[in-house]
């Protein structure tokens, strides 16, 4: 997959959630270009064009980052912090998509500048609806800065 066409970056370590999310997004024909990374370090490598993604052009932003908070190596909050602290990546919309309903996480994420915070519903029907709606909103309705 050529990286410059990546529309959605899905940062998710759980293969079940990954498969269900990708399935839903594909079914809704929202994005053909989904890149899945499985830990925070790889996510940062991609976003800042380092390591295995060194040949990528950093200014080719994905249109949406779906971020799980609990990740191996570097956790989601740190990824979010790095992303929002850097002027090159600050404008990329980030949606925290997580199982955690714990309040400190929500507050922390918003303090770091997350664009949206979604708790993954256990019910698949609700989950599917949530993913579909947020894809629709961020990819079709939202007007990104140039």
């Amino acid at each position: 997959m050529p990286y410059r066409t990546v529309e959605i970056l899905l940062i998710e370590d759980n293969p079940d959630d990954e498969e269900l999310t990708v399935l839903t997004l594909t079914e809704a024909r929202l994005a053909n270009q989904i890149l899945v990374v499985r830990d925070g370090a790889e996510a940062l490598d991609f976003l800042f064009a380092t390591g295995q993604y060194a040949d990528r052009n950093i200014s080719n932003h994905p249109r949406l980052v779906l971020l799980d908070l609990k990740l191996p190596k570097i956790d989601g909050l740190q990824v979010l912090e790095r992303l929002k602290a850097d002027p090159r990546t600050r404008n990329i919309p980030v949606v925290a998509l997580t199982s955690s309903r714990e309040e400190p996480d929500i507050q922390h994420c918003y303090a770091l500048g997350v664009n949206s915070y979604i708790v993954k519903p256990v019910d698949f029907e609700q989950f599917r609806e949530a993913v579909r709606q947020l894809g629709m909103y961020w990819l079709l309705l939202n007007e990104p800065p140039i």
Binding site: N14, D16, D17, L20, L23, L69, K70, T98, S99, S100, R101, E102, K120, P121, V122, D123, F124, E125, F127, R128
Partner: protein, 576 residues
């Protein structure tokens, strides 16, 4: 006139003691002269009618008597100083004239001047007396010069004349001595009286002081707290029994020595600096340090120091009250350790809850999700029975999701601080019912909500209590003819008891104790859905408020839940 005689004879009194003394002296002198003049006049008229000087002497005596009477009046009016000058001046002039005409120095007249000088001293003071003595000496000199020039003529003086003038001097001298001695006696007497009074007062004060000192000492000595006083250089000046007991020493071994000797060496400098600061800027202060007690143990003490200042504000002593706080400090340290441990445990629990929340949900979502995908995308390949099982898997996944949510809520209840505020239970209940009606438009139950008193509670948690109790009531009265739910409050023995009652299936009173336990259910899952956490949450909330919860019920006769909110609830603001 005669009627007022006693008043005229009575010596005058003025506010100033010295003025009074002079006035009284003058009074006596003038009165004496007046009586003498009157006597002389009488003698000349009655006894010596044939004397050729009769008329002249009589006239002089008469004028003298009138003049003296005027002076007496002036004295009484308060012109003491003026009267003094006039009286002394005139008497001096008369006597000086007498000396001149009777032959100069050595005559009774010139001796008379001596008496006048004395009088002047008594009436006008030391300086006037010295001045008048000078004038008299000068006058004596003039008389001497005149005598030398032979200008003085010696009048023939009869023995009677001598006797008479001498007598006047004797009388005046006697009066002066009498007055002087009398005055001395009065002063002496007064002095003695004052001295005696003073002695008595001092004795009384001393007794009082001794008494108060004894009382004060008794208080100090019976105190279980250590009390001492020390000088700004840390030398002890007093120690009580408790102090001696603590350090295992006698007062003699302590008083006169520095208390720093009792303190371990490395703490002495700090303590010295502390005392220095206390002496420089006197204020009450609390200070902790260690000291070695009777058993040689290093003990912690706390001292409340009060500087005692002299009239200039300088600290002369410091009074200190202290106690041994070694045990208290140990206990505090223990509490701190336990608290730290508790906090650690709490953090572990937090981490555990977090991972439960995160990790337990994900597999459920996968189960539910893949089952659904299977149903949707491969339904054709699945027999009816297989689809049934798939639905059962989904249902269970959903139920477990709810169970996790409830358990998390229950665990969070124990950790969240209560946000107490004045709350109207009536408003809360009405909101709960409104929410229920909009979620379930076909709700059958009838609600009777009574007006309930305001209380102090966590609004969100109390709403949760009512939501769970009302949901319970609806659930278990669903099969009743006409479901009726009553929500009210009564006051029992000064405590507000809130109740939620239904006319549903009720429960067997035997199992009341299982009602509020987690995962305990008294009804079949197939008849009444639920996971057995709802009432456990209610109980947890009520307990956190310091209240109690209990229930009454019997099979098919409905159930009533009662709860209180603890003592805090009654401090709520009155209804607005």
């Amino acid at each position: 006139m005669l009627k007022h005689l006693p008043i005229w004879l009575h010596p005058p009194t003025f506010p100033n003691v010295e003025t009074t003394r002079r006035a009284r002296l003058l009074h006596v002198l003038i009165l004496t002269c007046l009586i003498s003049s009157a006597a002389v006049a009488t003698v000349y008229i009655v006894i010596l009618p044939s004397n050729p000087l009769l008329f002249r002497n009589f006239l002089i005596a008469l004028i003298g008597a009138v003049g003296l009477a005027v002076l007496l009046i002036g004295l009484r009016k308060g012109y003491v100083q003026t009267v003094s000058y006039i009286f002394i001046g005139f008497v001096w002039l008369i006597v000086a004239f007498a000396a001149l005409v009777t032959g100069g120095n050595g005559t009774t007249g010139s001796f008379g001047l001596t008496v006048i000088v004395m009088l002047c001293g008594f009436v006008l003071g030391k300086r006037a007396s010295v001045l008048l003595a000078g004038v008299s000496i000068f006058y004596g000199g003039i008389l001497l010069a005149l005598d030398h020039a032979g200008l003085l003529s010696r009048l023939p003086f009869t023995a009677l004349n001598y006797w008479f003038t001498s007598s006047i001097y004797y009388v005046i001298a006697a009066v002066l001595v009498w007055l002087f001695i009398g005055n001395l006696e009065v002063v002496n007497h007064k002095l003695q009286r004052y001295a005696a009074e003073l002695e008595q007062r001092v004795a009384a004060r001393t007794a009082e002081l001794a008494q108060s000192e004894a009382r004060y000492r008794a208080i100090l000595e019976t105190q279980s707290e250590m009390i001492c006083r020390y000088l700004p250089d840390t030398t002890l000046t007093f120690v009580n029994n408790a102090y001696c007991r603590h350090f295992g020493k006698t007062p003699d071994e302590l008083v006169g020595r520095s208390f720093l000797e009792l303190i371990p060496e490395e703490q002495r400098d700090a303590t010295r600096a502390y005392v220095q600061a206390l002496v420089e800027r006197p204020h009450e202060e609390v200070y902790q340090h260690q000291a070695i007690n009777a058993e040689g143990e290093l003990r912690w003490q706390v001292w409340r120091d009060t500087p005692i200042r002299d009239v200039d504000g300088h600290v002369i002593e410091v009074q200190a009250v202290g106690e041994d706080i070694t045990e208290r400090r140990l206990a505090e340290q223990e509490i701190q350790a336990v608290t730290a441990q508790l906090q650690e445990t709490n953090q572990e629990l937090e981490a555990f809850t977090y991972s439960v929340s995160h990790d337990l949900r994900a597999p459920l979502r996968a189960m539910d999700g893949f089952a659904k995908v299977l149903m949707e995308n491969h339904a054709a390949a699945l027999p009816e029975q297989a689809q049934h099982y798939l639905r059962r898997i989904q249902e269970n996944a959903t139920r477990m999701g709810r169970l996790i949510d409830d358990l998390l809520r229950l665990s969070r209840l124990g950790r969240q601080p209560l946000r107490l505020a004045s709350v109207s239970p009536t408003q809360l209940v009405n909101k709960v019912i409104d929410d229920l009606r909009s979620a379930q438009p076909d709700l059958q139950a009838q609600f009777e909500v009574a007006e309930m008193p305001q209380c102090l509670a966590d609004r969100a948690l109390l709403e949760q209590v009512y939501a769970n109790l009302v949901n319970n009531a609806i659930k278990y009265s669903r099969k009743a003819q006409s479901p009726r739910i009553r929500i009210n409050a009564t006051t029992l023995e000064g405590e507000t008891v809130y109740c939620v009652a239904d006319n549903g299936v009720g429960f067997d009173a035997t199992y009341t104790d299982k009602l509020f336990a987690v995962f305990q259910r008294l009804h079949d899952q197939r008849d009444y859905e639920g996971n057995g956490v709802g009432l456990a949450i209610v109980k947890r909330i009520i307990t956190r408020h310091g209240g109690r919860i209990w229930a009454h019920g019997a099979p098919n006769q409905g159930a009533t839940f009662y709860f209180t909110l603890g003592e805090n609830a009654h401090h709520a603001l009155p209804n607005r």
